[in-house]
Symmetry: C2
Subunit: 273 residues, 2 copies
Amino acid sequence: MQEHSDLMRGLGRTIAFVPTMGFLHEGHLSLIRKGRELGDNLIVSIFVNPAQFSPGEDFESYPRNLDRDFELAQKEGADVIFIPDGKELYPRNFQTYIELEKLPNHLCGISRPTFLKGVATVVTKLFNLVKPHIAVFGEKDYQQLIVIRRMVRDLNFEINIVGVPTLREPDGLAMSSRNSYLTPEQRINALCIYKSLKKAQELLEGGVNDAASIINAASGLIKSNEGTNIDYISICDPETLADMETINRPALMALAVKMGETRLIDNMILNPE
Amino acid sequence: MQEHSDLMRGLGRTIAFVPTMGFLHEGHLSLIRKGRELGDNLIVSIFVNPAQFSPGEDFESYPRNLDRDFELAQKEGADVIFIPDGKELYPRNFQTYIELEKLPNHLCGISRPTFLKGVATVVTKLFNLVKPHIAVFGEKDYQQLIVIRRMVRDLNFEINIVGVPTLREPDGLAMSSRNSYLTPEQRINALCIYKSLKKAQELLEGGVNDAASIINAASGLIKSNEGTNIDYISICDPETLADMETINRPALMALAVKMGETRLIDNMILNPE
């Protein structure tokens, strides 16, 4: 991988990189298309990263379909599909991790304490292997995106991080590999996540700018659906993720909801006025 | 800095890098000479890294002499002398650190809990700025050297880490910028550090292979000198730094001793047979 990237860099080609955990859906494909548009040489990685799962989470059962992924990535114009080996990435006595002091103390970082450390670590490793000029991430994993932006700035990686808006199913559910876990009934009820974000935007447009009231309404809407369990609903500063009480400037609304055993996330920027 | 290195890499030049905290002495110059020998383009950085000092340590008083350093590095053939700005390296809201889980739980890592985290973090940053093929470090900071080797392997940096043996004053004291803190009397007494390592090697050659006895003898020798305060004396595995009870294979003997307020370190590989 490093040899290939050295060669491309030597030829003056711009390397665009799209790291994924595979089981590609339209959301991933939109990232890959963005990478294709921005880079001369497009590298897509497929790696289900054990370091970002806690014991008891779905590392083992995370959906995988390498043959299909390979075909889809190739069809979208990937020049290289990089499938690193887990034992090579995490050899015996592996012990080096990237940790951020503040951003993980919010949102998903609270109920998934090793998640963002695992993401930051594997992304650093992949950056050193792929040596991209540009890396593309989805805005659906908003906290992950800003953790990576902060890490890139703090560690002086010379890499341009590009965010791509969330893709949704026709009814509004955010695309996610984990949607494949849902039963038909859960799939219908899961729509309440997106509806709660739309409801928040409507309330704000109607003059309600008090975060607690909006969270309360969103929470009520979600709880009215069978089999939902709210992990968090937060209205916060889009840069620091610190809670906001009043929405007097653009705010991030982010939430995580369990549908049975399946944990889904979504987010939206709420714009006052 | 990154532009220069991209240019050199584009021309097929091998970049050798010697990171220092300045106040250069013959020890540093031996690293710079090694870098000159190994690289087509030689980059020396000078930066007293605040992140590797704890409150109460000597960050403020650490000796500095930029003009002299500049001259010395240039004389030894440095092509670039890189003096990063502290506020640029650690901007407001900086929060990303590299942490190792095991190696820092030994030797200097115990009494200096932020030291190795600070070193690993700044070295990662400098690697991303300087983009070297080769980086040169002194064996005097043995734990730092193996932390960096482990980090390079774990984070997939494509950089060859080269260690250079410790340079000593004619009487045997390991060269260190911190030797400049010593009073003439402390300078004389500080020799006990090196003597204790020689004593250990002699005892081993005389058939004593029990680590506790050797540490005991070394400790006695040091304590017989006025104004010494032992931080640690350790005989351990050179790879993992785990304590060894019996020296039946090459062992690292490492120690830290305070001479008044000045903390000095030294080490030696003890070879049985």
